[in-house]
Symmetry: C2
């Protein structure tokens, strides 16, 4: 079995094998489930930090700086840059090349970009699985960098232990256009490019907002001002991330919550597979035919559900790929 | 076929038949899909208004007042009170009785309560289906009243054309404890019991919040002050609801969006059925066994997914109830 061998090499520390496995996950290969089943026992060790915010907020540079700080403590860092909006990963790859040059000689840093490639809702699961891969490979820290925030990005960031939301003072990137979802996911707010006009104002707005909407009762969400060049506030950001990671660790779930979590994970994997297949189905099976009739308004959805559920062959078609 | 006859009677205007169908939906009867498939062509006419907020905010009374105003224009009103937190519908039923007395002689008003009854995630679908029932029955307006806001309530309110979020000046019910999700769903904010201390402050806070987080670019979310006894601001609330309903109607989706919406509706019905069965499964089938192993941490979820997908009998068990 080919992927069995790649998996073994990856677990021995072969970066090329890791890259190959990530590509399989990205392409939603049929072998993904088998691969994940095998490496799952090796996961659960990495600390996962999500960094999200609008395009141009300077997320990549911040991730770079944070990587340097983690590296100084000898921690191995996997970086996953997710761009749900990009139809192809051109821009991201360019960014990677530049970054790769910086960390080129450092075997303790791994950088990978992912984009949608036309997938419908599959990105969230693919991202989670790549995080599992990086975790199993042995990275101490996994940094997920994603443009946000829509539902996909919220799903992507869902598995981060600590979420950093990066904003910049420019109009349009301010809280006025910020979606409410960002308030809920942020463990740390960063106002980056803090030398620009409006930075203090944005930070003040965020403080007001955080005072009004208390999103995390036990954790006071900080608002930090940062600059990448010359570096300002980066050390403080790093400390806050460590602080939140240890805060989260102290709140390890009890056995009953863990049981529920495990069942939910299983159910969500199944549902993701199910949803993906249903949304993409365009074949000439009975099922594909029903979906097209519903789309055209010629058949009502409940009627189609009855037909699908009563027909084992349809169900097998949904899952039988 | 018994439910066929009930359905016919319901479509002729028999309220008792309507009540029976709602009970079938609430009990997640196996006949629900058939019933919904048949009445689906009759739906799509009702205007659906959601009223949500913390317990004790005076939602029921506001719904009552709004009902009177809709009735004055000759509109038939169906009221659906959803209480996701209540383990049994005792309290809700008591409230209904009191309200029923008021509208007792009025055949143009129908009131029904729903509670979770131990269902896991099924409430959202049941609620949507009851709204379809009320719609098909011929109510011009359907008012959904729900305590909020958790994910279930957000799902419940999802199908409302217009969402009214009701708050009260009391501490603990203020914006400080308000979840960010409420900001996103509100089309109209109401500060009820506006004679109490802190009402103006709460309204001002909401204005600040709405200024900072612009949730609906094309619709300016109003903040209204109301009192039930003596009535203050109710007429204005009513007007704002009508205004929003007509605002929404002008934005009717085009054919391509409608096609996507129809497919999504089909997919979501199937996924809801799937999720419900997966979360509740505790039988001795292979599938039930696998889920328990995953819960206990003895088997990893990906491994279980592979086993489930490769076993048509498991899939049939999930759907074959």
């Amino acid at each position: 079995m080919k992927e069995q061998k790649i998996l073994e090499q990856m677990l021995k520390g072969d970066v090329l094998a890791l890259s190959k496995l990530i590509s399989l996950v990205e392409d939603r290969s049929a072998d993904v489930l088998k691969i994940m089943a095998k490496l799952y026992p090796k996961t659960g060790r990495a600390q996962v930090v999500g960094v999200t915010g609008p395009p141009g907020a300077g997320k990549s540079t911040l991730v770079d700086r944070l990587t340097e700080l983690f590296r100084k403590e000898g921690k191995k860092v996997g970086i996953l840059a997710v761009d749900p909006s990009s139809p192809f990963s051109g821009g991201a790859i360019l960014g990677d090349r530049i970054r790769m040059q910086r960390h080129n000689a450092d075997a303790g840093v791994f950088i990978r970009s992912m984009s949608t490639r036309g997938s419908h809702g599959g990105l969230s699961r693919a991202t989670k699985e790549v995080v599992h891969l990086l975790d199993a490979f042995g990275f101490d820290v996994v940094l997920i960098e994603t443009v946000g925030v829509g539902q996909t990005e919220l799903d992507v960031i869902d598995l981060a232990h600590t979420v950093v939301v990066v904003l910049v003072p420019e109009s349009g990137d301010s809280v006025q256009t910020m979606k409410a979802g960002l308030m809920e996911i942020a463990d740390v707010f960063v106002v980056n490019k803090a030398d620009r006009e409006g930075a203090a104002r944005l930070a003040a707005d965020l403080h007001v907002l955080l005072g009004l909407v208390e999103t995390k009762p036990e954790w006071k969400v900080p608002v930090l001002l940062t600059e990448a060049e010359p570096q300002k506030g980066i050390q403080e950001l790093y400390q806050k991330i460590l602080e939140h990671l240890s805060f989260i660790k102290d709140r390890e779930p009890r056995e009953e919550r863990r049981r529920q979590y495990r069942r939910r994970e299983l159910v969500e994997i199944l549902i993701d597979i199910f949803r993906e297949r249903l949304l993409l189905e365009n074949g000439n099976s009975l099922f594909g035919k029903l979906i097209r009739e519903v789309e055209a308004g010629k058949r009502n959805p409940y009627d189609a559900v009855i037909k699908i559920l009563s027909d084992r062959e349809s169900l097998a078609q949904i899952f039988g790929k």
